[in-house]
Amino acid sequence: MVDTGVIVASALIIMIYSFLYRENIVFRIAEGAFVGASVGRVLAINFDTFRRSLWAPAIQGSYYLFIPVLLGILYIALFLKGPYRWLYRVPVSFVLGSGLGLALAGIIKVSLVDQIRAVITTPLVGVSLYQALSNLVIILATATVTFVFFFTRPHEGILKYVTLVGRLFLMIYLGYQFAGTIMMRESVLISQLNIILKGDGIWLVPIAFILLGIGVYYDWKNGKLQWMG
């Protein structure tokens, strides 16, 4: 039994990958479909959540849940031209206020106090020499990297050497991060090729290469084939 879902999925992936050769109508179709699908999907999911978590309990007695409906409708004021346009800032201010307040409260504990405590309590005695030296690396990295981002004083004198060490650690971290970035992107590519190569969509691969060959030949004949940097 042929899996039409896998064939459609494989075709869409190949349509997106056609962009690697050059921009074309096939890619534009897939891209347009994605944009429309994104907006349609999020509206559908929000409507479903509205029905489950707001409307159903509201009409069964939790009348205070009509307040977010009234406030949410004010978003439409963005499109008004007149003295009431400012009303769209009201729901924005509710969401912003709560987000900022919760973030501020938590960030001070989790990202500031706890991190400074972790540095201060990193053991340098009572552990093996290897562990002590490695822990010293953590303390040194934390301290020097923090100074790299201090821009209120020029990086001169002793600060110059501190930020130099900080930049060294920053390069080590960025190298480590770069490897992670590559791995993540490759994993996404692998997942896509898995869909094409391990399902019914594998028959689209030779068709795609034939079309690519025709496209390359056509461009070469018309002098449009150029080096891509």
Binding site: L20, Y21, R22, E23, R41, V42, I45, N46, T49, R51, R52, S53, A56, P57, V95, S98, G99, L102, A103, A105, G106, I107, K109, V110, S111, D114, Q115, A118, Y173, Y176, Q177, A179, G180, T181, I182, M183, M184, E186, S187, V188, L189, I190, S191, Q192, L193, N194, L197, K198, K224, Q226, W227, M228, G229
Partner: protein, 278 residues
């Protein structure tokens, strides 16, 4: 990005990008069709993650699927492996999320692992609470009162789900496993669930985000343990004896890395010879 009208400079420093991309397709595609079988070693981090999960049978875990579709390439195999471990060790699973895709993804992976026992065990051993709106505000609401969301992803009221009887706040959850696609979600989870002392946290992370989570990982830190990327998923599949997509993909990942090392080496050799000439 597209066609340029520059005259082509020849040499190691200017290989056409499309040739590189075609090679990448072959290097990644061939091991998917013909696996090489490079042996995988389980790292101490992954083993620690597995041991925390399986320390005690019957505990309650929440799995927060806060990822976009692209994150499923790495997080999907991790989620699948975690659910299979949960099934083996009778862990109670609450699927939830603050990303609009959460409910749909939870449905996909629960169906993959529990489809044969869905009718008999849904609501007893696992539930899909779906998408909770509001990001960090929604997390605060959920942590303080889980029943405020009223219905699960399928529209069933929480009082009709037997396992939810004992799960009222985040304190009733033993471990919250956050699927980290970007930094916003794990930071917010740490602030709203872990810092106030509701529950303990584990992380299933992409390789991209993992470096930024490092300061928070450790036995006395907010995140008790974390696995990263497709390699972490493959190791988890191996240690739990449930081989899947991640193990199948590590050969392709290895060859893709070989290719990038080759091209970086070619680029640097080209630079070296160019300097020699000048």
């Amino acid at each position: 990005m597209n066609l340029q009208n520059k005259p082509r400079k020849k040499g190691l420093l200017n290989i056409d990008s499309r040739i590189i991309w075609l090679l990448l397709l072959f290097f990644v595609g061939i091991p998917l069709v013909r696996p090489i079988g490079i042996p995988i070693q389980v790292s101490p981090n992954t083993r620690e993650f597995y041991e925390i999960l399986t320390e005690q049978r019957g505990i309650t875990i929440a799995l927060a699927l806060d990822t976009d579709p692209a994150g499923l390439a790495e997080l999907g195999p991790q989620i699948s492996a975690i659910l299979k471990i949960a099934r083996d060790y009778d862990l109670k699973v609450v699927m939830v999320g603050w990303n609009s895709n959460s409910g749909m993804f939870a449905n996909t992976y629960l169906t993959e692992v529990f489809s044969d026992v869905w009718n008999s065990q849904y609501g007893i051993n696992f539930v899909n609470l779906g998408y909770v709106p509001g990001m960090e505000t929604g997390m605060k609401q959920f942590a303080e009162d889980i029943w405020s969301i009223e219905q699960d992803h399928y529209g069933t009221r929480l009082e009709n789900l037997p396992m939810m009887e004992d799960i009222r706040t985040a304190s009733d959850i033993d471990y919250l496993i956050e699927c980290c696609w970007n930094l916003d979600y794990p930071n917010s989870i740490m602030r709203q669930f872990v810092a106030p002392g509701y529950t303990k946290m584990l992380a299933a992370s992409t390789a991209l985000v993992y470096p930024a989570l490092l300061p928070f990982i450790g036995p006395d830190r907010p995140i008790k343990s974390a696995i990263k990327g497709m390699d972490g998923a493959a190791q988890l599949e191996l240690v739990s004896n449930h081989p899947g997509l991640a193990i199948a993909g590590t050969d392709a990942q290895s060859l893709a890395h070989v290719l990038i090392i080759i091209f970086i080496a070619i680029g640097n050799l080209g630079l070296f010879f160019k300097r020699e000439e000048t």
